[in-house]
């Protein structure tokens, strides 16, 4: 187990270096002089020279990249062009919010998805099963941003039940979490159904039934535990995707997360912010995936990645 974790951690190194190359390359790919982009169109030659000096833009690219990496490792992601604040400070303000939102969304979707999946699997081919299947198909087909707009229209504008955006109380997060979690619920429901059906076919389940164990006990005591293993992996994956979906959710509900930060950064051509946000989000996603895989290996003794 330990060897597996160490090996996976080592495999992360090239991916993380690659991710930093991508976010570093961003500024180089933008057409035009990076110094001009950083300083703004009306910059004088003097300012440009200073900026080139300050950001080391007059050095060869590989040297620049190594410097970028050296700073990034210790948490120095540069300074925002727009607000003049360190990018790391901005991320510290914004990223926890996105994490909270993604976490709430996975909580909602895990609950909804697992319940719907179990019901569908235990009532196979019934109208409940078909409803769950159709529901999950619609769930993965819904554009998050439209679902968000509809939710605002119904629950804020018409019914006045929930605030339409902003932060402050838990009520502000109810709609965003539900909207962001909708697609995940669908995926989790599908996985739960498939996994439960698979487990319910196993011999030990038949044995339990033959012994006269009640249906409820068979499902919850004997089957669910083993069915949960693949579902657990989906939790991890979906949590990661929720980080991505958060960009749209935060826009719809005007929430101060890292998704909004990156979109505003792109509009303002504030490249240090965009680079930093990309780096942090991707690193988090990669680490979450690693944790998921380790959990999978831990809970399923049949799986040994050697």
């Amino acid at each position: 187990m330990l060897a597996y974790i160490v090996r996976r951690l080592l495999l992360l190194v090239p991916v993380l270096i690659g991710v930093s190359v991508v976010s570093f390359a961003l500024l180089q790919l933008v057409p035009g002089d990076p110094a001009l982009i950083l300083a703004g169109e009306e910059a004088t030659e003097e300012v440009l020279t200073r900026i080139r000096q300050e950001y080391g833009l007059n050095r060869p690219l590989p040297v620049q990249f190594l410097a970028y990496l050296r700073h990034a490792v210790v948490g120095d992601l540069g300074v925002s062009i727009q607000s003049r604040q360190p990018v790391s400070t901005l991320l510290k303000q914004r990223f926890p919010f996105t994490l909270k939102l993604a976490f709430l969304a996975i909580l909602v979707s895990a609950t909804l998805g697992v319940i719907a999946g179990i019901i569908a699997a235990t009532h196979r081919n019934s109208s409940l099963d078909i409803a769950a299947l159709l529901g999950s198909l619609v769930g993965i087909s819904l554009p998050i941003f439209w679902l968000g707009l509809l939710a605002i229209l119904i629950f804020s504008v018409t019914l006045h039940w929930l605030p339409s955006g902003g932060t402050g109380s838990l009520a502000h997060l109810v709609m965003p979490a539900l909207v962001l979690g909708a697609a995940s619920s669908a995926v989790i429901a599908r996985t739960t159904r498939a996994s439960m059906l698979e487990v319910l076919r196993q011999d030990y389940v038949r044995t339990a039934r033959a012994k006269g164990v009640s249906d409820r006990l068979v499902v919850y005591r004997h089957a669910l535990g083993n069915a949960m293993i693949p579902i657990l992996t989906v939790f991890g994956l979906e949590f990661g995707y929720n980080l991505g979906g958060a960009v749209l959710t935060e826009t719809v509900f005007s929430l101060p997360g890292v998704g909004r930060l990156i979109v505003e950064g792109i509009f303002a051509r504030d490249y240090p912010v965009v680079q930093g946000a990309l780096l942090v989000v991707a690193t988090t996603f990669v680490l979450v995936n690693l944790l998921t895989d380790v959990a999978y290996a831990y809970f399923d003794p049949r799986i040994r990645y050697s």
């Binding site: 554009p143 439209w146 979109v263």
Partner: protein, 262 residues
Amino acid sequence: MSGGLIVGLFVLLAVLAPVLAPYEPLRGRVVDRLQGPSAAHWLGTDELGRDVLSRVLYGARISLQIQVAAVGLALLLGTALGVTAGYVGRWPDMVIMRLVDIMMAFPGIFLALAIIAALGTGLANVIVASAIFLVPQFARVVRGSVLTLKEMEFVTAARALGERDVTIVARYLLPNSLAPIIVQTTLRMATVLLTASGLSFLGLGVQPPSPEWGAMLSNARSYMITAPHVATVPGLAIMLVVLGFNLLGDGLRDSLDPRLRE
């Protein structure tokens, strides 16, 4: 095959939009602004008095264009990478798969956002960004399929007959990988619409006044209270088309590749 029906209808409407649309998509009379559905405007009008039905129909053309171009591009690139990785193996496989890992390290729309940040907004860049976003998925599927196939006896036989690598790939490996590739292509037509319209909704994709569905929704946000119909129709269109491709993809998977059936 309800999925096929929805997709067929969508393609038909997109192609026939200029014939079917009762009004011009970009021009409206301001006096007609934000009207609800009526006999003259079946789906009402938007904030500039433009006919929503006509705009949604023309929007179908833009969506289809983005979907075909982006998925086509991703299919070409992804297949090339997947075949190389799976068939050649060794270090090319290592390099390509690490590249795929790096691209997949950006969750969801983030990779597309990074590309848009570098290239700028607009239709062409949305296509490029959405395509690159899909490349890893195709590369993985094709590589997996090639890895299984190349160990099979008919490939060994072809090699024993002295067939060249190019022939083996073109004549034996790719045709036998068609089923998973077709299923992927269909399902990705759904994903790419969500990504592209998402980018436009954020203001980072196709720009107004173009009747792209995501851009229409982004505009409609400001008028949601007075004219909710403007925000309803484009979203419904996206959902239906995505649902159609998902249904079609699932159906194709079941019929083309019975082993994958649940």
